[in-house]
Amino acid sequence: MFENIQKALAERVTGDAALAAWRRASLASACAQGLPGPRDEAWRYAPIRGMERLSWVPAAPSPPASDSTSLRELLPPPLPGFARMVVVNGRVDAALSSHAPAAASGTVVDSLQGLDAAAAADVDAARALANNSFAILGRLLTEQPLQLVLDSTAGSRVQLVFVTTAAGRDGPSPTTLRMTVAAGCRAEIVEEHLAVKGVAAFANHVVDTALHSGSDLLWTRLLVSAADARHLETVRLQQALNSKASLLQIAPGNTGLRSTVVATLDGAASQLQFNSVALGDGNQHLDQHVLIDHRGVGAKSTEVFRGLAAGRARVAFTGHNRVMPTALNTDTRQSLRSLIAGREAEAIARPQLEILTDAVQASHGATVGTLDPQMLFYLLSRGLEPSAAQSLLKWAFLQDVVSQLRPAELRTRLEALLLARLADPLLSDLAP
């Protein structure tokens, strides 16, 4: 596979010598370690079988699709007050995007051809991605890396929509995004991933996010794809002094998902709230691996995961919380809960605490189980049908996370989506 990639890259490694050198070095690193597989502990539950057999040559982008009716129908409605950037097969579609509101609030939304040059100088990024060949390949193969600089103290609000229309049989469509929230600034990002049904789309998404001192980011990520799509991603979040981030991921299900999140709380008193929901059904295979690395004094993190596995789905979550010797007085809390709602379903919730200092408060809890029979009987004793009672309890199970969705327009839409997934007409009453 790497021969194919080297060939594909040969045409691109031109011009700037430093950039070319970085790309060659990155590729050499990926070649040396190969792709991770099920024998690697961190990838044990990832849906990555057969990846080495793909050519990994990016699928040819579809023709300009702005005027495509099916594409417009696929897109979520614009969120009021948000700038919108639509990226189709890795390229910004200007006709479907609207920058004006963001510009008015001081946000800079731009694509940056030279992102790799910046990445080449980013030693931390290279280190964070060093053991993840998928991320390296994603960055190397992306044709149009994107950059968002969020620098408004009044608050920047951006809706990012990534659409994959290309078939994924030869390899994933890569996208790379770098986000920066400037010191003291507030930002709200809604990031949605969509795929056209019927083409077995496959995305490889790489995000690098830096929060500067005193910044505040509310980041909602919707990992929706078509039921036949696969989504592979690497999300890196780096937080400076007194920064606050709230990252909420919703994975309502597709054929395969691997989300690798590496959050580094470098700055003193930096705070991270990480929430995640995953719903798997049929033969879906959803895997999330989250490392929260506490490095600054007084760092604080809370991690909540709610997973639901129905049918023959496998839903896995690994929450690795590491507290470095420098991170005195860290406060880290973790709650991982998974629900098995199918005889052949599999749910995995793995808490991993690695504490390398004494002055720390840490709590964690992980449970995997079925619907509570006492709750179920209570609802039945009030006359509810078993299917309705089960759906209601599944819905209730997700509420810890779903109730935190903002803005209201997004919550309404996502609740409707999740209710549809839980598939019971009785629950339509619950939608706001």
Partner: protein, 249 residues
């Protein structure tokens, strides 16, 4: 309304009910008393259809139907209500939703349309006033974070909204202070009518001071040991259960 004949049942593999007989007619209020482990709660769970409670012998007719052949939800829709001794908390499902869903399930059973939102709120608010419950409870998760007394009030609120034909109230008075007991008793009295029946499972006489029973039964070793009027409850208060359970032994 309810006819229990020679009922034997096991819970967790142990025999708990051993030939219990009971007749409850419309308009009657029955109190079932008895020491711990006598089978009171098991009786209520068996009647409500809780999984894990197996009937090994006997029959139960409810309104002429074979109750034991019905699913728990069918029993509820047919008009049987169980007020739980330990109401379960269900975070994420709000009270208003459950009340409405339960009411609509019952209405569907009777071929009636779903309740109008305005009518529903009017009904629920009137019942909440009766139970001296704040309307804020409607938007809270079912029993979530409720005190013991609030949970019991919530059970009675559900009963008043659903207006069952037969209510089995399992130790609804336990854990209530004097004022809360009066409120709960008032709620129970509200439901009392010639068309309905109540079965109160209790340890203590004090609930019966507020809801006068027509019959008092003493349960021991899984069957009715003695049946009397209200005076039997007063006698139990004085003498305890030993003189009856001892005779049975």
């Amino acid at each position: 309304m309810l006819s229990i004949k020679d009922l034997h049942a096991t819970a967790g593999g142990s025999k708990v009910l051993n030939g219990l007989n009971l007749e409850v007619k419309a308009g009657e209020v029955h109190a079932i008393m008895g020491p711990n482990g006598s089978g009171k709660s098991t009786l209520s769970y068996v009647l409500a259809g809780r999984p894990g409670y197996e009937v090994t012998h006997g029959s139960v007719q409810f309104e002429g139907q074979d109750l034991l052949a019905m699913s728990p939800e069918a029993r509820a829709r047919a008009g049987l209500f169980l007020g739980f001794q330990y109401p379960v908390e269900i975070p994420g499902v709000n009270n208003a939703y459950l009340l409405k869903a339960a009411l609509n399930a019952k209405r569907k059973q009777h071929g009636e349309p779903e309740v109008d939102a305005f009518d529903f709120l009017t009904l629920v608010r009137s019942r909440m006033r009766l139970m001296q419950m704040d309307e804020a409870f409607l938007s809270r998760g079912v029993n979530e974070g409720f005190s013991g007394g609030e949970k019991k009030r919530n059970e009675i609120l559900q009963m008043l909204v659903l207006e069952p034909k037969l209510a089995l109230l399992d130790e609804t008075d336990s854990g209530l202070d004097i004022d809360a007991l009066k409120v709960v008793a008032q709620g129970i009295e509200t439901l009392r009518s010639e068309q309905r029946a109540l079965v109160l499972i209790t340890h203590y006489q004090r609930l019966l001071d507020h809801v006068a029973p027509d019959f008092v039964h003493v349960l021991g070793r899984g069957r009715i040991l003695r049946t009397g009027g209200r005076e039997l409850a007063l006698e139990l208060e004085q003498r305890g259960y030993d003189w009856l359970t001892g005779q049975a032994a």
